[in-house]
Symmetry: D3
Subunit: 295 residues, 6 copies
Amino acid sequence: MTISMTPIRSFLFVPGNKASWIEKSVTADADALILDLEDSVPPAQKAEAREIVKSKLAWLFEQKQRAWVRINRSPHLYDFEDILAVVGPHLEGIVVSKPVGPEDIDTVAAMLSEAESRNGVPVGNTRVVPLLETARALQFAYEIALRDRVPAIVGATAKNADVARALDTVWSTEGRETLYLKSRVVMAARAAGKLPIGGVWQQVRDLEGLRASAERDRALGMSGELLLHPSNVPTVNEVYSPSPAQVAYYDGMIAALDAAQAEGRASCIYDGEHIDIAHVKTAREIIALARSFQG
Amino acid sequence: MTISMTPIRSFLFVPGNKASWIEKSVTADADALILDLEDSVPPAQKAEAREIVKSKLAWLFEQKQRAWVRINRSPHLYDFEDILAVVGPHLEGIVVSKPVGPEDIDTVAAMLSEAESRNGVPVGNTRVVPLLETARALQFAYEIALRDRVPAIVGATAKNADVARALDTVWSTEGRETLYLKSRVVMAARAAGKLPIGGVWQQVRDLEGLRASAERDRALGMSGELLLHPSNVPTVNEVYSPSPAQVAYYDGMIAALDAAQAEGRASCIYDGEHIDIAHVKTAREIIALARSFQG
Amino acid sequence: MTISMTPIRSFLFVPGNKASWIEKSVTADADALILDLEDSVPPAQKAEAREIVKSKLAWLFEQKQRAWVRINRSPHLYDFEDILAVVGPHLEGIVVSKPVGPEDIDTVAAMLSEAESRNGVPVGNTRVVPLLETARALQFAYEIALRDRVPAIVGATAKNADVARALDTVWSTEGRETLYLKSRVVMAARAAGKLPIGGVWQQVRDLEGLRASAERDRALGMSGELLLHPSNVPTVNEVYSPSPAQVAYYDGMIAALDAAQAEGRASCIYDGEHIDIAHVKTAREIIALARSFQG
Amino acid sequence: MTISMTPIRSFLFVPGNKASWIEKSVTADADALILDLEDSVPPAQKAEAREIVKSKLAWLFEQKQRAWVRINRSPHLYDFEDILAVVGPHLEGIVVSKPVGPEDIDTVAAMLSEAESRNGVPVGNTRVVPLLETARALQFAYEIALRDRVPAIVGATAKNADVARALDTVWSTEGRETLYLKSRVVMAARAAGKLPIGGVWQQVRDLEGLRASAERDRALGMSGELLLHPSNVPTVNEVYSPSPAQVAYYDGMIAALDAAQAEGRASCIYDGEHIDIAHVKTAREIIALARSFQG
Amino acid sequence: MTISMTPIRSFLFVPGNKASWIEKSVTADADALILDLEDSVPPAQKAEAREIVKSKLAWLFEQKQRAWVRINRSPHLYDFEDILAVVGPHLEGIVVSKPVGPEDIDTVAAMLSEAESRNGVPVGNTRVVPLLETARALQFAYEIALRDRVPAIVGATAKNADVARALDTVWSTEGRETLYLKSRVVMAARAAGKLPIGGVWQQVRDLEGLRASAERDRALGMSGELLLHPSNVPTVNEVYSPSPAQVAYYDGMIAALDAAQAEGRASCIYDGEHIDIAHVKTAREIIALARSFQG
Amino acid sequence: MTISMTPIRSFLFVPGNKASWIEKSVTADADALILDLEDSVPPAQKAEAREIVKSKLAWLFEQKQRAWVRINRSPHLYDFEDILAVVGPHLEGIVVSKPVGPEDIDTVAAMLSEAESRNGVPVGNTRVVPLLETARALQFAYEIALRDRVPAIVGATAKNADVARALDTVWSTEGRETLYLKSRVVMAARAAGKLPIGGVWQQVRDLEGLRASAERDRALGMSGELLLHPSNVPTVNEVYSPSPAQVAYYDGMIAALDAAQAEGRASCIYDGEHIDIAHVKTAREIIALARSFQG
């Protein structure tokens, strides 16, 4: 599997119109923030929010806080002014709501290329994480995941969210009604070499419920969760950190190749698999990632 | 989502060879009837059943009873004589068993066009609801749902039915073995802007079992159920009626645009969504539908 | 459904480097053996294992023991020398691990054609059963199942196996995390007219757990299981044998056509289906198979 | 290339309502006849023509005259009564006008299966040669050529024919305006292992023009021509007979393998190609065909 | 064939920065004008040209002059400001240069929907005629032609134009090097029920050359030509007007149905085709069009 | 257009069994050599030829002579031993005959990856140029051209070659019968950002015929030719060298951006196109290439 992006365990929404919340959110320990210009911003404050978000990106970058922006869309098109405002060297990518299908990803990619070209960023620099919230986008999850700029797709469900309206499902704690949807997103993402992201736990004060929900997502193969509140970050980071067994597996892999190299061989069999320097490079990255997660 | 057909909560089979049953069935309060020429008619009575069904369509139409006919198929072809007999201004559509794939829908559509042309009905008038009962039809559920004449697809399962034979599954009350199948039909239908229909509860006297089964289907996103007995209609109609929350949502949408228009605006934000006259038109239809369901 | 291969209820792995185990395994009553050249053989014994396996195929054939071989693959290619060594009149087919997609099946098919041509076997003779262990292979399960040489596809999961690594799932006894995967494999296989095979129960001494696991797979529509130990064969053979109800159904079908033919007709309706001599031919095969399973 | 049908150099239309013309046409030396129920039969004589054609098929078969029938189509569907009338053991296949795309071939194939089943012919027995006369059918020429029952596709053009209307081309003797169309049909047919058939020369008395036109088609790779008049058969048979060079090539191939076999080898290199018994089998068929053409 | 747009025989470019030329061009008798904001406008005058074009659209509409606008594109995106400026009730559609493939048509369609929504025009109102000037767009000509807003596609070639650079062809008067390209565009357009448009004759003073070139395009099935100079309009209008034979054909069709209706029939056979009121409606439109062309 | 390979004007076959011919061929001034292990080597010398070719690759590399190898294929598979023998740091790529379709390219790519891995070359290093000599490969020319390792595809025709047999065409000097084929290869290659290569002139002593043939291919958009004799190199190099007009165009582009940069701008309009540093980088490469050709 190509890891095309450092995984995001906790992907935390912050309203774009709240400058102080944005500032405070860097202490939440979220792997990445989503500065929201869309649903969490009242219509009257959209313009102001765009300016606030634009002004905070460099500062967040200095704090080593990975930052994304969720842009607006009309019924017809993603908001080009939002894109022009936020594309730049400090933005990791944008989050887009409700694509109708792969065509919307192509369109937003063309708009990003134009904005990158105008704003002096290398064309192709800005990533896109789509929220698969329409039935058609879910049907074409694999085709969307194959798109170049897309490092992850989101198969999130919540009690009163767009996905439930799109499929007309009835929410349950256990999630029988969305097991297919979430499993489909996981397989589509992994088949394309991309990351699947789950969520959303709306009852933000119920941390036990959050843990159970995250563990269900984790068991299905999700790599992280959308989050609505900073207090939810630690639980989710814990659920999604590489397990000691995984760390031990990769430690063992490194040791195995070291031993083989000491005997003059360039590769060896580890746990039944042929491994060589390429595998060990990946292993070192995962170990480093796990360590960075441990703080 | 395009609502391409008024939803059918209760889709009730009536044997086509029983004239009196057909007459009585209009009192069952089913959203639509399926006059069956196929499995519920003994071979010796096929010809008679065709005449009975043909003769009852106008009368049902006068009673404002939506009426469909399930036609026969040989191993090779749907029955052209059945089609020629029933196509006309009083038929809403036909139900077809066991298509092997989208090709069978194309073929039956061509036969319908011919029958419409011969019988003086506008070409394209007759709808087709396919029962996805072969593994290949289920594999191609989305492609089938995209076909023009198809307003709904059926992902029904029952203890001893064709789907179970096709996939060689073992039936359980809870339906773990068909969760994938039903979820797949829901997503395929919704992605194509069509309606998914579930069922079939064979133990027609067990109304509690029926309610539980219908609620499981409803939670997955089904919009209605195939039914085998008139006594099952009320339970299913209740489970599948728009909820008060849905009605309130659309009432609120109408009020929001009314308020905006009073201030001279053509659109507004409602519940985080841009809405205009098109949305309100849909809202009024759903409210009207909900009221009609309340009878 | 085209039955393109006599079903395999119990598909038992035997390490290819253990000549005596291979000999003993014919007493296990497994429907077919997989002589393994891959994971269960230590690297140092690969060459020896190939010779052992090669030398045992004719003997197994004489014992009427169906025999398959799992060949090795490097990260890039299936092992052509393995293929050249084992292809011949006594091999039913090969089992291939971790195809990345349908292209790998095409490649191995070309290599098999070459080996068949060199070894004097009719081109196309050797079958291929792929283990769908990568996310991409699972995404393309239907396309893989359509390939000519493929009579069955395997959607097996285990606590510490490749599939779990590919999708990053967390194993549970009940298997919620792989319900989608297994259901998808069943539908893909059946839609292509092929057989789905499940498994793998790793806790080989826990026969109750094995039975429960096999019954869950059986309910989903699987036709058999991969097995790791001869002691597991009887349980699985029992779970996957045609049920008395199935046998009765086909007995009834034969009787129905006999009766019709006695009246001078070539076909009749049986259990609501048109049947003729072709159906009865299939029925006789299934009855014969069921009887052979009864030993 | 799979030769899936004995080639037809001269494919001669005969009006289906002219019993005496049909009888006389066996003396024309055409490789196959097309008894036409469609354009060459006046509407008032359609029913009579169907009876005439039906009654002549067995007699033509006895004369060893290959016989096809062109059936009618309405704007919506091929004529099922035509199909039911002519399908039988003495019919090689049907010719169908103006398919709109591959769907029409699928539909006519289902109707043929039904007719074969009713008329006691093995299902799949009747072949279909489509005239690609709509732009969409030409766009999908390869997909049409892949269909099982289709052994050949026709890319015919004429001064005032359907193709010219479909593409709105202006006819020229040299055919610059249809070079793309004819070349496309040749490549599509050959890529699917099928035969491309050209034509139509409408100026039936201009035999020099016919020869030039046939030679242009032949150079593009066509394997035969539709013909409108018996007098055109000899010219076309001559143009499309295997050339002496081709016969010599295959004679040489047979000799080369004979020589190799005399030395105990099963294969050899002939004209730079590996050949074995399979190639020689094909060679013998082509030689036999060429000889039969020499009559 | 669906005629989805009144054909354009002469499609005349006028530089968008020349107000007086635009005014004068209504006397040129061109079927439609293309007010050009792109290549024929110097960079320094782009903004001014946009205002000029915007200001002339209503006036042209009053003159009953069909008007289109060619918008600019950067390497990444069509110009959204151009689109916002010109979309409105007086614009028939836009012409877009160098799409890379169908994705670009989807993107420009989304931008048009947004502009229509903002400018108070029904969504979907504005048409798009793409110039197929990249190799990839030509490869996907059929897929582009299928797009909803596209009523015609342009397969134009010229001595020093983009297509020649894209394919690296060498121009000749006779056009052997672009015969494939132009034929492919014709078939793709017609297969999708759309119109193919040819051109471009750059030597605008050589009217004999223009006529020969237009006649070559016309013979291939083109329906009109891009033009660079008003003096070229009459020649092209003449070449592309329906021929007397076509007019006579449709006059005959109308007469035939009139005769049938006088005898109480709703349909008849005309020139070997079933015709009814729908065909006659089309016939009347074509006759009316031909008369309007005759002025 | 992505130039994914330095173009090859003259691509000269040299028999692999003739060591002295290989040595002498470096003086022929061919852009690249094809050391042939296939058709030009007698069966008895295949093994020897493989050793000769293997031994010459490093020497050719030192001479700065670009070198490719055409490997053998059986009816089923490309020759793995050929591949293992020649893959290494001095081989630019392999030429493969008669792929049946894209699957064969996938298969040979997997074999190359394995050989690269074994021989210590970076995986993906070796390129593949396929000769499209079967009808199916020509039908799938675009799909083949999209493959990663493929920098060019060959649409060559000759009087007695495989393509003529595959399509059953009759050769003419002017090439009417292969105009579609060659044009199709050009468009497919360019649409995929790859190079189309033409040929083959078999009458190697007729240099005037060669020039005319090469100019016809060049006009269609070919970028070079397969050649059978060293004496043909100069003619072909001349025909395919960038024209003075092309050189002037790119010189002008460089000057235009220089001028713009002198005024502090990063981009400008040149010949109606937006250009920036990326375009100039390409321009410099083409100028350098043209100069190197002038040698």
